[in-house]
Symmetry: C2
Subunit: 204 residues, 2 copies
């Protein structure tokens, strides 16, 4: 299986961490998004949304969207389980994963798109007011997470799941690329971050 | 099972359509979001994100996030299948559902939050420039869908799935509440809309 990837891009990283946790080997294909290779006619046949990651199966069929790719990998390689084992856990892990995506990732994304690095590319109209709001929402969500981590070990409770991978890649990207590192006083959040960063899978 | 609901709110509607497709009866509890009942201390115990819908099980455990609730219902009530039956279909349906959520729903949401109805409430800072961009993105996505529906019957291909429910609730909300009705020239999109709207489940 081939994974269309770009070094440093946070969404392909989610899939790479997920695969590493399951010891699944993926052939990484560099899709140079800086050169617009994700918007070519050929690539749009693989993913009409023009985004990476894309997983290409040996028979040529393609799957886009990080979480959908991870779900495919979970189905063909069920252990260790990262999505939940019974109806309630499956739903609960998904709800936590979605909270991180819809309430944190979207905000980091807005700050990124309206920030200086993307600004220099000149491809999108910058809206500074939108960035002010998303910066604030990101910080508020960090505080919420910090409170939650005072009583739970991982995002979805007692064990490591896909929701931890989503949060780790969000925070690492926000820290490295968007100047939205969590405040150092958020010690429960940092305790969690240290623990999940020490897993071998986090090195990808 | 109780579903915390608010008439006209699009996300609870997704769960209600999904449940109707499976003939699952839910006890609807009105959570008056106009009065802020989704932000009370008691409600935040059910869902720390302060959003509806929430599904409350008979043992008191709660699940938030529409798609997570639907996945729970799929697990306890597998037929008719709405998420996919094998590894590839499960992943493909999820990728299509996510495209609708992340590339259309987010844009309709931005136009809603920065539009006149929410503006009158005075709860959020309005950013007119953000609305201009999201209006445009919504229209572009409608055109993409129209092209896709010229060759596929449903969002994820040959059969009705959760991705159709997500799109139907998005378009109906955009039409009724955000003045973003698809242009009448998009006949393939309207063909799809007519078909899914005629299913009894769409009446909720």
């Amino acid at each position: 299986m081939k994974l269309y990837d770009y070094p440093g891009a946070p969404n392909p990283r989610r899939v790479k961490i997920f695969a590493a946790e399951k010891d699944i080997e993926l052939e990484l294909i560099n899709c140079d998004i800086a050169k617009g290779e994700h918007k070519t006619k050929d690539f749009l046949k693989k993913n009409p949304s023009g985004k990476i990651p894309v997983l290409e199966l040996d028979d040529g069929r393609c799957i886009s969207e990080s979480v959908a790719i991870c779900r495919y990998l979970e189905e063909i390689h069920p252990e260790p389980n990262l999505f939940g084992v019974d109806a309630f856990e499956l739903a609960y892990v998904e709800s936590r994963n979605r909270q991180i995506e819809l309430e944190l990732w979207t905000q980091i994304g807005t700050s990124w798109v309206n920030g200086p690095i993307v600004g220099k590319l000149g491809r999108f109209k910058q809206i500074p007011e939108a960035k002010e709001t998303s910066d604030k929402n990101t910080k508020n969500f960090y505080e919420r997470l910090n409170n939650e981590f005072s009583t739970i070990q991982f995002v979805a409770g007692a064990r490591y799941t896909i929701a931890d991978i989503t949060l780790l890649s969000a925070i690492d990207f926000a820290t490295a690329m968007v100047a939205l590192k969590p405040d150092s006083t958020l010690r429960h959040l940092f305790r969690w971050h240290k623990e999940v960063s020490e897993r071998p899978s986090a090195k990808v």
